[in-house]
């Protein structure tokens, strides 16, 4: 069995940024395990531009964005193994994997970062009645066929779901000569980015049919058409609104699911809302020394935020490795009422006073679907923690309310908020110190009073 300080599961944008950050924070023996034959993850098939506006202040394509990180990983001589599938992670951080050149092997890691990304929901999850012909693909599969393999899956296309991949593929298929007849969305709003609706649908005259879904699939061998119907406010098809559309291809962009099979088997607690691990301010999961970032933690809207989050995960994992290695006690700031600070060993949880193991739960409420992190330790948190969240539906002229216990601390006015876009607020350690008694922080969306 080989030993590494840090093993990163996944060589996509999250894994790469986490590795770079851990190296820059002083970790020597890092190993990135990637299941595909190349680094970069799903960015490799995202050949459109729009990546990197936040990170690099320029518009890059997916492969270009990935390449910046791949170059950096190479420069920093971070070890990567490709074609490598991780089969198991134990709570003691023993990683079992397999690849064609090494066979099955085990690695003992001091820390692990989960960066496995997410997968698309399949047709089966929607249970659309009908036959099971060729011509039904998830949007990401079609994207890979067109952009990497160089094959067109079809000529006349309907897209179900207006997630970002669906929107991007509407444009992509059009540019490749296909006719995209409609993008149908079950909800009364799109779950994609506004800019993608404008640039991928509006600019090409592709209709976005909100509150519509596919109720029937036609064609036994190859898809011949679908029946589209309008749905009521509960998502139930309204009889009499059915419309048949002939098409040879149906692309599904109906949601992304973080790939947490390994996490689950390891006993890591998952958040039912994000379907990713529950993490604290250090992005550490409920299994000590195992961190998570990127789409395996929660599905992001922009890769820039994945990189940002992964950089933090790398930093915190590095900190953890250094702390657990240090024979001398690790300094933690105790938050007594008198402001005294004290020093405790991290592993020795039992001897830590309540103040240090105190965790504040973050509670998503009215209109907020989740928060990441889900809990914060005031003692361990850095000066500022970014809390990311999404809203459940579209809100106009509202405000984001942050409550420490019952007390409203922040009220941030917003003109519009949509489920397709990730939101964030900052929590400062200083502010939290003013409230040593609170057990929860609630984030909720509130109607804004009309100004007179």
């Amino acid at each position: 069995m080989t030993d590494y300080e840090l093993v990163i599961i996944g060589g996509g944008p999250a894994g790469l940024a986490a590795g770079i950050s851990a190296r820059k924070n002083g970790i020597e023996r890092i190993l990135i395990l990637e299941r595909d034959k190349e680094l970069g993850g799903i960015l490799n098939q995202c050949i459109h531009n729009g990546f990197g506006l936040h990170t690099f202040q320029e518009e890059l394509t997916g492969p270009e964005y990935a390449d910046r990180y791949i170059q950096e990983v190479r420069k920093l001589r971070i070890e990567c193994r490709l074609n490598t599938m991780v089969l198991d992670i134990s709570p003691e951080r023993k990683v079992t994997a397999v690849n064609p050149s090494d066979g099955m092997f085990e690695i003992q890691a001091q820390a692990v970062i989960l960066a496995m990304g997410c997968r698309e929901r399949p047709r089966g999850a929607l249970n659309i009645p009908g036959y099971r012909p060729a011509g039904i693909f998830s949007a990401g599969t079609a994207q890979r066929l067109v952009n990497i393999e160089g094959y067109m899956p079809g000529k006349e296309v309907v897209i179900l779901g207006s997630g970002d991949i669906g929107l991007i593929m509407a444009r992509r298929m059009t540019l490749e000569g296909a006719s995209v007849k409609a993008v149908a969305e079950l909800m009364p709003y799109s779950s994609g980015l506004k800019r993608n609706i404008v640039q991928c649908l509006d600019d090409y005259g592709i209709p976005l049919m909100l509150s519509h879904t596919v109720v029937r699939i036609w064609g036994k061998e190859r898809l011949e058409g679908i029946t589209l119907a309008e749905v009521d406010e509960k998502g139930r098809p309204i009889p009499g609104t059915e419309e048949e559309i002939s098409c040879d291809t149906l692309l599904l962009s109906v949601g992304l699911i973080p790939e947490n099979e390994l996490s689950k088997d390891c006993g890591i607690v998952l958040d039912p809302s994000t379907k990713g691990p529950e993490v604290n301010e250090s992005l550490e999961t409920t299994s000590e020394g195992i961190f998570a970032c990127g789409n395996v933690l929660h599905v992001h809207d922009l890769v820039d935020y994945v990189s940002e989050e992964a950089e933090l995960a790398g930093k915190y994992a590095a900190q953890y490795i250094k702390e657990s290695k240090a024979s001398q006690p690790v300094e933690c700031i105790k938050e007594g009422k008198n402001g005294q600070s004290a020093v405790y060993r991290k592993e020795d949880k039992s001897s830590r006073p309540a103040e240090l193991i105190r965790e504040i739960r973050l509670i998503p409420e009215s209109g907020v679907s989740y928060t990441v992190p889900q809990k914060i330790s005031p003692a361990r948190m850095p000066e500022q923690v970014t809390v990311r969240f999404r809203v459940r539906s579209i809100f106009h002229r509202c405000s984001v309310g942050v409550y420490f216990g019952e007390r409203c601390i922040v009220q941030k006015k917003r003109l519009i908020m949509a489920p397709g876009e990730m939101e964030s607020i900052m929590l400062s350690r200083e502010k939290l110190r003013e409230f040593p008694e609170i057990k929860t922080i609630t984030i909720r969306i509130e109607e804004q009073m009309e100004e007179a």
Binding site: V98, E120, R123, N127, Y131, S138, T141, Y151, E221, D248
Partner: protein, 472 residues
Amino acid sequence: MYDIVIIGAGVSGCAAARELSRYQADICVLEKEEDVCCGTSKANSGIVHAGYDAKPGTLKAKMNLLGNERMGLLSKELDFPFVRKGSLVVCTAKEELLRLQELYERGVKNGVKGLQILSREETLEMEPNISADVQSALFAPTGGIVCPFSMNIALAENAAVNGVEFHFNTEVRDIQRLEKGFRIETETGSYYAKCVINAAGIYADKLHNMVSGRKLSIIPRKGEYCLLDKNAGKHVSRTIFALPGAYGKGVLVTPTIHGNLLVGPTSVDIENKEGVDTTKEGLQEIAAKAGKNVENLPMREVITSFSGLRAHEESGDFVIGEAEDAPGFFDCAGIESPGLTSAPAVGVLLAELLQKKLNLEESTSYNGSRKGILDPRTLPIKERNKLIAGNPAYGRIICRCESITEGEIIDAARRPLGACSIDGIKRRTRAGMGRCQSGFCLPKVMEILARELQVSQTELTKCGGNSKLLKP
């Protein structure tokens, strides 16, 4: 002229082919699809029934019991997965207890071994997720689950290795009786045979009626199913049946041999023999009924749904044997449930009939054992690493959900009667059968299969015919 032409490469046809391959005979199987196991054999519950269901004295009852008994040995000879986990028929209403008792007695009459009526407590101890309303249950320890694809494919491969020819994409259009034997007209030409075995599933009536005045009538009885993620696979540990009767046959809940949970089937007579589509009503019915006997079914974990057609013959029993007014024409018709369970016995019965008819002699080169596709996960680490060192394809995982390697996919394409479609690969290896339903592995499987078949990817089909995956 062939000695025997078998029409249909489903589980019954292939079981007959395998049993007949013991003899010195020229045998050919004609199949209208691109692969074996493409009709009813691929879309059923995958259950090995104990045998208490069928009316005593019927062929169904006899074949069920014999088939069940033979399944263990056959699965070893042909290396396909089968487990005898036992099954429960659950009774949730006091007024139905009598019917449970009747079922028990019928089972005893049919010769089913080990049947037991369990108390409410015993039932719940065995299966904690069974409805709290449970009054009693019939426990059948000889019930089991099998992989229907692997079983069908194994029978076919073994038949092929022992000299049986398989002609795919060969739909039979007409059969004529000749002075000696039959002429079988197909899309691709005429075949001549001394004897015919009609194992054409849902179309067996059509073929039979071409040569016989004693008409058969097969009604497609549709059954829809939902397959749940492996996360839900341990919700019950045996097959849970509803008590047949009062509400129709009811919906069963069972773990599959590969660890998923299967819920279904519905039961609706339809007219269209190609009507393997799922329906809104059917899927709703499954969700509603399944919850009656098993609690907290995680229906949100559905990863796919499908439907199959039972070949229900009007008489209600299997029709196996030589047509009275068409000597040499052997029917294997009306093979609905328990057809999969019965197949090993049906194969033997048909082989005996044909052996007598044609006076066949045993072949000296017959080899009745077959090895399935090697699954590296079943090997100890040392051996697995030796395998990978010798063939690195066994270290490259293509289907991440089911952990299927490139080595297995290549094997599936190259072995006798190898896969020639994406569904063929799926049924042989499980690549694409997991929770992402081939979202990630499809392009990779396409690349490997095109390479193995030496065709362009644009030629690849999902399941033969016009089911091309790409539209260049």
